[in-house]
Every structure is written in structure tokens, then in C-alpha cells.
């Protein structure tokens, strides 16, 4: 494995971890800006 390949491997792992981590956090966060668009609630 060349140094260049190794560096790219690390970069790909970091990008995957960051995007994957963000996806997990956002998908599991109960505080969404809006969960659907309710209409007509009386109270």
C-alpha cells in the first residue's frame, strides 16, 4: 500500500464516519423542526 493510498483510505473512513454519525444523530433526534404538517387542531 502506497502512502498516497493509505492517506486516501483514512480520508474515506473519516468522511464516512462523519456522514454516518451525522445521519444517526439526525435520524434519532426526537426534536425535529416539524413532524408532519398538522392542520386544524382545536387545542
Amino acid at each position: 500500500m502506497t502512502r498516497n493510498t493509505f492517506v486516501w483510505l483514512i480520508v474515506i473512513v473519516v468522511v464516512t464516519v462523519v456522514l454516518g454519525g451525522a445521519s444517526l444523530i439526525v435520524a434519532n433526534n426526537p426534536v425535529q423542526a416539524a413532524a408532519g404538517a398538522p392542520v386544524g387542531f382545536i387545542h
Binding site: A33, P38, H43
Partner: protein, 511 residues
Amino acid sequence: MNMSFVSKEGLAMESQNENWRGGWRSVVAVALTAVAITFNHVFTLGSGAFVLGATLLAVPPALWIGFRRTGNRLALAAYGVMNAWIVVGFGVITGLWDITLPIFAGTFLSSVSTAYPKPVFGAFGFEISGVAMFLGSLFVLYYGLQLIPSRGRRVALSGGAAIGVTAILFAFVALDRDVWAPPTQGVVKIGVIVPTTGPYAMLGNSFVKAVQMARDDLGDKKYRYELVIRDSGPDPEKAKQVIRRVVNDDKVDAIVGGISLIGQETKPYATAARIPHLCVCTVSWIGDGAYNFTNIPSPEAEGELWAREAQRRGIKRVALLTQDYPSINNHVKALKIEVARLGLTVADEQRFDGSVSDFRSLIRRAAASRPDVYYVEALEPGLDLLGQQLGDARIHNVSAVVAPSLSDNPALFEGAWYTDSNLTDIGFKRRFEEKYPDTRFATHMMPYAYDSVNMIVSAFETGQNPAVYLRNLRSYDGTAGPLTKAAASGNFASRPAVWTIASGKPALLNQ
């Protein structure tokens, strides 16, 4: 000497040519980041995002090709400016500050301290493309820096970028924290946003009176409390303008609101202004536990008590006659779960449109199912028409959640039992009716409106940031019984009670 000079110059030129040849990587990084930027901006700009995307995809390569063909330094400078725009504007300001830091740092900080709000996220695609924008901008920055001939300058700029990102992280940690600030000139402004006109006029006007009564009951306090009362109207779109004015122009320190339809519009404004918003709303997701909190019994609590009371009365079969309306459907949904859990039977279920005025065929079908009780829920005018036609059919074993207390003519439901707020402080209702004899007391909302004002006052009087105070508040002794809130929740829960209509008026049954 001369040969040596030529050789050095030749080496320098060769190195520079190598840099220029590497320029395509910079162009590719810009193009990929432009795709992420376009996707992200579809959520905010709509189709306008494609104009932005086309600009970012077309202009930088054109400038680079122009520079490579003509050697025009102006084209190179313009290419550098486009890179800086992508890195700073889209990568750092939007991608890092607005999206990536709230996701990672905001989530972590709020999990370790209630002084930090739980971050509020937008659509999944918006958030993830925002992170991709930031990551892409790092590649744009890296390959952009490779185009700088001087190694020393490259290292200096790389170091500066690293220091800048670290400083931004520290700034986020400092600024994301909600801190206590004494009210300006000792005056706390509480915005009161409810519809006082249109179909919600009865509830809205009662709500305003309850809030005014809370303010009048305050007595001597450290700060002066002013109510900024605004009619949101029943239309959520028009309500936005009212809410915006209350938050941005009146600069209120907190908001007390009612009706979920309006509360859902108030929520993002309260979050943006970082002020607490206590909403007497049944839609639980409005209470995010960061700046927005709901304060009213949940449909689940109402359903649980209703089913228990039905069981206690020996009821086995239930006929449901309900209007097709979101909050009513929520009650029915919760009630059916509890009814099934306790082994009762839904003998008949009919849902009708708000325009129905003749209920006779529905009543006949329900009667044929031989129910022990008729569960009815509708909005006016349908509610009273249904009550009248049930009476005409000599049906008096009627029950509901809340509905009879909202009727314009409760006598139509004489003898009916239903669940509603547990008004433990019955004197509250008496004082309200004495103070405002012309205003109807809406049991379902008034105690919570009153308590919500008092919660906000308690926060300021104890010298705490009001949003942090509400996040930490786990129980409150309210006028409608104890209010409780689970850690990190945005919903104050309360237990309803069983009521009946006696002599044409709501009366609390002994529990």
C-alpha cells in the same frame, strides 16, 4: 552562475507547472461541493437552488480553463474568490456553524448540561447535505491551497485555517450556552399569542383572561411583568406575521400561547429568539424541551382515565360518534387503545364530516349496536346538533373527552360524564367567574394558561435563564393538580379528572 540561475528558475517553473496540472483536482472538489450545496439549498431556495448550482458548476471551471489557456491572472484571482466564497460562505458559515456543529457539538453539549438547548434539526436531507457541504469545502480549501506557489505561504494559510476552525468550535461552545440576563429596566415582557377571533374566539378570550388574572395575582415581585397580548387569528399563515412582530419588534422575553395550530407556527420563532414558549397545546411534538414546552393533559392521559371510568361504571360496549377532526381523532385513537386494554368493546364506530347537521341515521345505526354508552365528540355547531338529536332519540347515556365543556348549550348533555382538566383548586374557577362574569371559563385550557405565566415569573424571580429553568423543572404544583415533566422532555404532563353536566353546568365528580 548563469547555469545555476537557469536551473533554479527551471525547477521553480516545473514545480509551478505541477501545481497548475493539479488544478483539475481543485476543479473536481469545487464541482462535487457545488452538488452538495445545490441539494442543500433546494430546501431553502426551492428551484432557485438550481440557478445557484449551475453558477457554481459552470463559472469556476470556466475561469480555470480561461487562466490555463491565456495565463490571465485576473481569471486566476476570480477562481480564487469563487473558492473562498464556497469555503467561507457555504462550508464554514452554513455547513459548519449552522449545521455540522449543532449536530455534533450541540447534541453532545445538551446531553451533558441543560444550559445548552437540544438542537432542532430540519429535514434529514438538508442536514446531511449541510455536513457534506462542510466536508466538501475542506477539499476545496486543500486543493485551492495547493495552487499557491510559495510553500511557506501554503503552510501559513493551512495553519491559519486550522486555528480558525478551532476558534469557531470554542465560539460555538461559548455562544450556544443559555445564560441569565436580567430583564432590561426590570421589565419582563410576556407575549400572549392566541386566536381571539374566529372559531377559537371563545377559547382564546378565556385564555387571555386567565393570563391577565395570573398577572394581577402576582403581588410584589422583583421585576415588573407586562403582557403583550396579540390576536394571532385562526389562520396559521397570517399568524406568522403577528408572531414575528411580537418576537422581533415587541422583543418579548417569553411567550405563552394556546391552540396547537398557532403553537406550531410560534415554535420556530421562539427557538430563533432563544426565548421560552409555553404552549397550552395537545400536539406533543411542539414541546421540544429546548425552548418550547406544552402544558395540558395528553390525549393518552384522557383516554386512560376515560376507559378506567367506563370500566368502573360497568360499561362493556361503546359506540363512537365523532367528527373527523385531528384533535378529536387523537382522542379517539388513544381511547380505543385503552378501551381494548381493559377488555371493553367498541360496538360501533362512525366518523362524520364537520358539515353534517342531520345525525339521525348515524344515531339509529349506533343504537342498533346496543352500546352501554355513546361516546360523542364534535366541534360546534355539530356538537350541539348531535346533543339535541340524541336527546330527541331519548338517548342520555352519553360520554366524551372534554366536548361538553366546550358546548354552547351544556344543558343538552345533562347527566353526561366526560374527562377534562383536574381543577383541584376549584376556587380558581370561582374567582375567574367573579372577575370576568361575561367570559366563559374553558376548563380545558384556563388553569394551564394561568400556571404557564406563573412558571415564567418563577424563572425570572429566581434569577435563572427562563428556558434553562423550564428544562430543569420536573414538577409544579398547578391550579389543575401537579404538573410533571420527564428529564429532557418538552411536555408537562397532568392528570385529567371526571366531570359531569349537572343542572346545565360542568361539575367535577369526586375522585
